[in-house]
């Protein structure tokens, strides 16, 4: 049987039987109370991000009071319905050290990776969602999912490395098809029959990996690293195949509706809002169906070009060209854009809070990290860059609090988030952004 000896990819025989692969039940998958879904399955913990563009108008954004029951100045007044679910972090700092202050770039890169970039093309390290997904994203069909409300596939704050970006879903219809198309396994289906093709796929992957290793000969260091990354991805794919051979736990909140209609391209604020809400709703159903546990939502890009009907300056242009109105203590049109962003942040949080799961909501079992690219965009300021969080991460986090960072590293929130997700991190960030200090005031 010489052929069998070559068949090193065969790891076993299938013979039409069910294949099950046990998955480790980590503590991190359980919420604080150890509560579970009706099926008895533990409720998973999730990590999400949300991003908006061009910061804030400090005078009418930052509450006067810190702690609980903080006041809501005009620019964030729309957050009243979700105030109890969120924390607001102001007067935290991102540090550029010896790197240049790259307009609309340095701020978000530090908040997402902990490292100040040296050039605009430079995206050092990996983003926080990728680090968290390595920890909690291995038990689902997608390690993470990203979606943007801008309709532009180039808008992403998620990358494994400078040249390896996780492209976001930009079309509601396409997103729906990816999530709930042919390969979707309904967790609530009455029957489960493993697809014999999946086992073959898994076996064939070993052959692909072994044959291709010789490719690396003669390659430079960077190219070898790119192929290594590819092999890591193939191993990850193997894990996904294992999952497809296992009957998914029922998810009572998973009820997939019909496909959405698609939207035209464009950045009119009303259109962006509509797209944001459609993408959010799809993302939440993906969570409820346990298709992913790490998710990124992108409301606006760093150079946000959202437009306001009847006003001739897109958001970014307005931040620089519009005068501050002393009476209103802001640039009125620029603030209009920020208020629209905050309305959508509120929608996002409320949607998570409204989504029932077990005895609570999706939000109860999530921690959302929301960031922007500047503090005062008019002058490209990054000091005091505002951040939000939402959700209690399964009862581990107190909410409804405004925290004053007193100029401490903003990376403290990213560190706190990663530890909440089970990452064993001594510290996070480089140079002045490095911190080993959690924001303990929010921890239960």
């Amino acid at each position: 049987m010489s052929k069998m000896s070559r068949r090193r990819f065969l790891k076993g025989t299938l013979n039409g039987g069910a294949i099950t692969v046990g998955l480790p039940l980590l503590n991190v998958f359980l919420n604080e109370n150890g509560s579970a879904l009706a099926s008895g399955a533990p409720i998973p913990l999730r990590f999400g991000t949300w991003s908006w563009g061009l910061g804030m108008s400090k005078e009418i954004f930052v509450p006067k009071k810190t702690g609980p029951n903080f006041d809501l100045p005009p620019e964030i007044a729309s957050l009243a319905p979700v105030q109890k679910h969120i924390n607001l972090y102001t007067n935290y700092n991102v540090f550029k050290d010896d790197a240049p202050n790259l307009c609309h770039h340095s701020g978000w890169v530090v908040l997402r990776s902990g490292i100040a970039p040296m050039t605009r093309a430079n995206r050092p390290g990996e983003t926080i969602d990728v680090s968290v997904a390595r920890k909690i994203g291995n038990a689902t069909r997608f390690r993470s999912l990203s979606a943007t409300a801008t309709g532009d596939v180039r808008d992403s704050f998620s990358y494994e490395g400078g040249n390896s970006v996780n492209s976001p879903e930009w079309s509601p219809l396409r997103f729906y098809e990816r999530l709930f198309g042919e390969d979707f396994q309904d967790p609530n289906a009455q029957t489960f029959k493993p697809d014999p093709r999946v086992m073959v796929r898994k076996s064939a992957l070993s052959a692909v990996q072994e044959d291709a290793k010789k490719l690396q000969k003669n390659l430079g260091m960077e190219d070898r690293a790119r192929l290594d990354q590819y092999f890591t991805g193939l191993r990850d794919l193997e894990r996904r195949f294992d999952l497809q051979l296992t009957k998914p736990d029922p998810r009572e909140a998973c009820i997939v509706g019909g496909a959405p209609s698609d939207l035209p391209s464009g950045l009119d604020a009303d259109l962006v809002q509509k797209r944001h809400r459609m993408m959010t709703d799809l993302m939440l159903m993906a969570l409820a169906c346990d298709q992913t546990r790490v998710f990124n939502m992108f409301y606006a890009s760093a150079f946000s070009a959202t437009t306001k009907p009847g006003y001739d300056k897109p958001h970014h242009t307005a931040t620089h060209e519009e005068a501050v109105d002393p009476a209103q203590k802001c640039q009125p049109n620029t603030s209009w854009y920020t208020r629209r962003a905050m309305e959508e942040w509120g929608y996002y949080v409320q949607a998570l809070a409204n989504f029932k799961e077990g005895d609570g909501s999706l939000l109860d079992n999530s921690f959302i990290y929301a960031t922007t690219d500047q503090s005062f965009a008019k002058i490209h300021g990054i000091d005091g860059i505002p951040m939000f969080s939402a959700g209690t991460a399964g009862g581990r986090v107190k909410t409804g609090i405004h925290l004053d960072g007193n100029d401490s590293p903003a990376c403290r929130l990213g560190l706190t988030a990663q530890r909440l997700m089970g990452l064993d991190l001594e510290s996070w960030g480089t140079k002045s952004n490095n911190t080993s200090s959690e924001i303990s005031e929010i921890l239960v």
Partner: protein, 586 residues
Amino acid sequence: MFTPINSTLRALLPEPKLLKAAAFSLAALSLFAGCQPEVVEIENNASVARTRLLTGEQYANTIAQAFGEDISESILPPMPLMARTDGLLASGAAFAGVTSDQISQIQLSAASVASQVVDEEHRDFLLPCKPESETSVDPVCAGQFLAEAGELLYRRPLTESRLAELVDIADYAAQQTENFYDGLALALEAILLSPEVVFVVDQYEPDPYNPGSQRLDSYSLASRLSFFLWNAPPDPALLAAAKNGDLHSEEGLEKAVNRLLGSPRLEAGMRAFFDDMLAFDDFNSLAKDPLVYPMVTGATLADAREQTLRTIIDHLLTQDADYRDLFVTKKTFMSMPLAPVYGIPASDGWVPYEFPAESPRMGLLTHVSFLAANSHSVRSSPTLRGKALRELMLCQNVPEPPPDVDFLGLEEDENAKTARERLNVHNKNPSCAGCHLITDPMGLSLENFDGAGRFRETENGAILDIAGELDGVFYDDISGLATAMRNHPKLSSCLVNRLYAYGTGGPVSLRDDRDILKEFENRFVEAQYKLPALLKDLATSTAFSAIRTQEPENKEAELASTDNPTTPEQIDTIVQNTLASTESEQ
């Protein structure tokens, strides 16, 4: 018992669909006769071995070439977006990695392609044989198909051991699924997931004619040639030329290059290049505010992109005309959605069109594509237009805006009616002027066109002053700008640099490629700025196939290639001169 496929069996395979259209044109070949470059001894006459990720379009072309356009068009190419690197997305492919998420998308596409190849609609003409039984294994038939398909997808023949392994996968899968075709599809999926398919890895070998030097092996050279000229993998004829060693002989290489250049597929290849060079990927998400520009729809913008590409292809390939004249030509093509923006009567479909002599429109800078893509959604932007003109067409870098700018002077002036008045504040402020004087003078000359590219003589009731200057050439109107652009000394060197980077798969290096690029430019000038002659010169050059093996220092050092006019000293000179002339005018 598995038997490797032989050449007789290979001949049984149907020709891929696209090839049938790619008839070899002797007439076209004659265009390039007499363009053979002289041999010039140049130091560093070699390029870098690259590992390039297929772009989405290259992936789609790969599937189309192997299995037909209907299957290719049924899937969204699963490749990630490249980061624009030294002016080209294609150069970003030399550095792009693939995330886990992206690999799962590549697998989904592979499964979709493979299942369609073997479905009842396609199997009879995409497979070279029929199995003895549809419900069991047939290693001979599987081997025939996998050898053929594998060669097209891997862009080189499969080794015997690789083929044997794939046949084993097909057999095992057929047993498990009790279906020969399902088994074959699963083996095809494995091919499509292979990093050797997804990445184009330049493989090289010692050059027997130049001891101590390295050259691309013939299959890698075939890939480099065909992605350069067709934006697609090698077809069977080119693979055959590689197999015979033809590509390593001067005569054989010239013959192969002539065939590629003479093929109708050259048009698709050059469209891909110019779409990349002109950053037309911006059109994928471009939109105009319907309240401000109600006549501009998605169809208008799509046609604007198409109009420019048609103009370029007609001018450079069909007419074989001077590249520089693209910037002054009155000839273009018109469609119904575009006509209202240009203010001319509509016609059905695409028709050749020539702007009247008195029209201000001439050359690419006055196309709606350039004007609309480099504007805001609600208004024009002289700065964006000037920046695009310099970066995309002259390969110059416009510096980043400084981070700590005082924008107080920029605040809206209620009395400012025109962009020139609004931007004037920049020119009085040295920290702004450094960049804005590089972009705005030529951008302001295009202010007769609004943010959608429509002609206007006034803005907010004020007559527009469109006089300007481009690198020492002063002019009063749009034709003056167009002519200055046509005659700009960097215009042709920029095209040469971009094409060389595009063809060799990564950014050029100022340190290593300077001499060879200068030589290519000289020959481009001698050839009267004709694109086909330049393409042939590049593709048949020693540098194109010879490999310098030293590792690049690092990506950023390697990228120091753009001809950047904006050293601090130069900025200072520009600022001082302009401030002086502004003061003298006042």
